[in-house]
Symmetry: C2
Subunit: 216 residues, 2 copies
């Protein structure tokens, strides 16, 4: 019985995700779903991205958390269309919550919607939200073994970003081992590396975002 | 219907957790459940603890992950009784998996069982495993806003450990804000700070562990 309920929940989620995708497509809005551990640098990457691209793209953000509106407050300084979803204990965003979040935004005023998922490398991977691309973040201080331990995000992501590379001199992180594990899971996975605060690699990331919006 | 199924799952888990607690108590084994994000330093803290306390306590470990046996391999160098549970995609350990793990260990040869939960700051908090104490880890590079975003672990933990304090000079982390948020959630929460690799604070942590085992 438990399995049937879970299947039904996922089936309902997929149907709402399909409707979200349709609404975004009709409004000409590209959509990225960013997934990563607590503190891997999702909000900081978004701050930097919004700052760099605000003259080139109209970007809206839906940010998910269990509690607090802190991420939305941080991002409100960079962009007018930000909405926070508090999941009330749930470990991931679902398509219905994103639909509600989309209702708070003016889609016709956007080129790109970025969904910052709840900080969790596991549960968010399984829920389609209607995005055009999933971006998976691993941060250097988490350690080089994280792709091997969390293969599903590697299998499903359109792009993997290794963040906080400015901490490489200060932590035991074998870059070769990280990439070897990543490619063993999926040989053709696309990988970018950056340090959002120091600025390294941010240009390449912004080019990727602009390319994605151009193709969408 | 969904809610009833979830309630039944948790009720069954609590019953198995009760049995685990009874079996551990009968064998005179204290038990700690360590919970924290991917890469917050759970395994490293365990390596250091096993190294320091191996002449004073007989410690066994059950370590949970979605994939790989890497943590068990790392810990096997420090302790004879280690068993890895791969949850097969599930985002947390449950009491039944811990019961199976306990079946692989000789409880009569142990003073302390440490359960290293799956790397996840959310879902593991809700599942009683039969432990005597929950220890919640936050790491400095995750940022000072993590207690506010993850209040449930603060409310339920017997001890909060802030790890990787050696990275404080290299990341934007306001120690005061971290502690203020923590105490706003729960004024009497016990907090330790350490850098496992540098060795700072490890003595105090080991004293806490010895004290806990003495009281159990």
């Amino acid at each position: 019985m438990e399995i049937r309920v879970v299947e039904n929940v996922l089936k309902l989620n997929d149907e709402v995700a399909r409707q979200n995708r349709e609404a975004l497509g009709a409004a000409g809005v590209a959509c990225i779903n960013i997934i990563g551990s607590p503190g891997c640098g999702k909000t900081t990457l978004l701050e930097v991205t919004l700052g760099r691209l605000r003259d080139r793209l109209r970007i809206g953000v839906i940010t998910g958390d269990i509690a607090t509106t802190r991420d939305a407050e941080r991002l409100a300084g960079y962009c007018e269309q930000v909405t926070q979803i508090n999941t009330g204990g749930s470990c991931h965003l679902d398509a219905n919550q994103v639909r509600q979040g989309m209702g708070n935004l003016s889609l016709e005023g956007l080129d790109l919607l970025v969904i910052e998922n709840v900080g969790n490398l596991i549960c968010p991977v399984g829920f389609d939200l209607g995005q055009g691309a999933k971006v998976g973040l691993f941060s250097v201080p988490e350690g080089d073994d994280k792709p091997a331990k969390h293969p599903r995000i590697v299998l499903e992501a359109d792009l993997i970003v290794l963040t906080k590379t400015d901490l490489l001199p200060h932590v035991p992180f074998k870059r070769d081992a990280f990439e070897r594990d990543l490619r063993a899971i999926r040989g053709d996975v696309e990988l970018l590396e950056l340090a959002a605060l120091a600025g390294d690699g941010v240009d390449t990331w912004c080019e990727w975002v602009l390319g994605f919006v151009g193709r969408a």
